[in-house]
Symmetry: C2
Subunit: 141 residues, 2 copies
């Protein structure tokens, strides 16, 4: 038998996850896309293919495994994007800036833009930072 793995199968196996249709499809969406995805986007792309609950559980699993990371937003929506770094189960290392385009509304990981340190007032100890920049992206300029 021919052991040809697809990229999605490969990632799932590396992370000790069962290779299921739902996970393959959803992971594929992330791989095909440069921007972040919301739960609603995924539902739109997958249609009636899977139950909403499965999408929720798949995203949660991916976050736990360090396959995707959560992106904070200014409205109160939840966004997910592929981890490109050394993220592991239960421990993310994404400390890049996120850019939200005001024109196309895409949210993009600026993987090469590291979040700068800031000087905090006396008594405050930093642990982790998040930074989002709004504006116009390179596609929309």
């Amino acid at each position: 038998m021919d052991q040809q793995f697809t990229m999605t199968d490969d990632i799932l196996k590396r992370n000790k996850l069962s290779v299921t249709d739902g996970r393959k499809k959803i992971l594929g969406l992330f791989l095909a896309r440069d921007g972040a995805l919301a739960h609603a986007d995924i539902e739109k792309f997958t249609g009636e293919m899977f139950d909403r609950v499965t999408v929720y559980r798949t995203l949660q699993t991916f976050v736990e495994k360090g396959i995707v990371h959560l992106i904070p937003t200014t409205d109160n929506s939840i966004l997910y994007a592929l981890c490109k770094e050394n993220c592991e189960e239960g421990h993310h290392h994404d400390n890049h800036v996120h850019f939200i385009c005001d024109v196309c509304t895409k949210t993009i990981c600026l993987d090469d833009v590291t979040i700068p340190k800031v000087k905090l007032p006396k008594g405050f100890t930093p642990n982790h930072s998040e930074m989002m920049v709004n504006g116009v992206c390179s596609d929309c300029k």
Copy 2:
């Protein structure tokens, strides 16, 4: 007649808002507190005093008037905090860092810590930035 204004009455009048029990009470909560408040916090503090809808509408009005500003969060909750700056109707100017204490879970406006500029990749134009820092606050250290 004795024209003694309370601080809340004063702020409401300056913003051309009717002085009502709900607005006074909710604004009072913000004035008494150094950290941010979520809708749920306000419901907890006001109890059965007002309808949920009134709390929603009051917060929305305060944001519109520039009395409080929204704070983005890493989970998907919505937080509100008093504007201390020159915020006006429909135009906020709060560009300070927000600190979330991992111990007491309070979110605090670091009014004196300005969000640093970052160098974006070619083609990206910034417009507005948000920054959140997690860690241990001065009370919990």
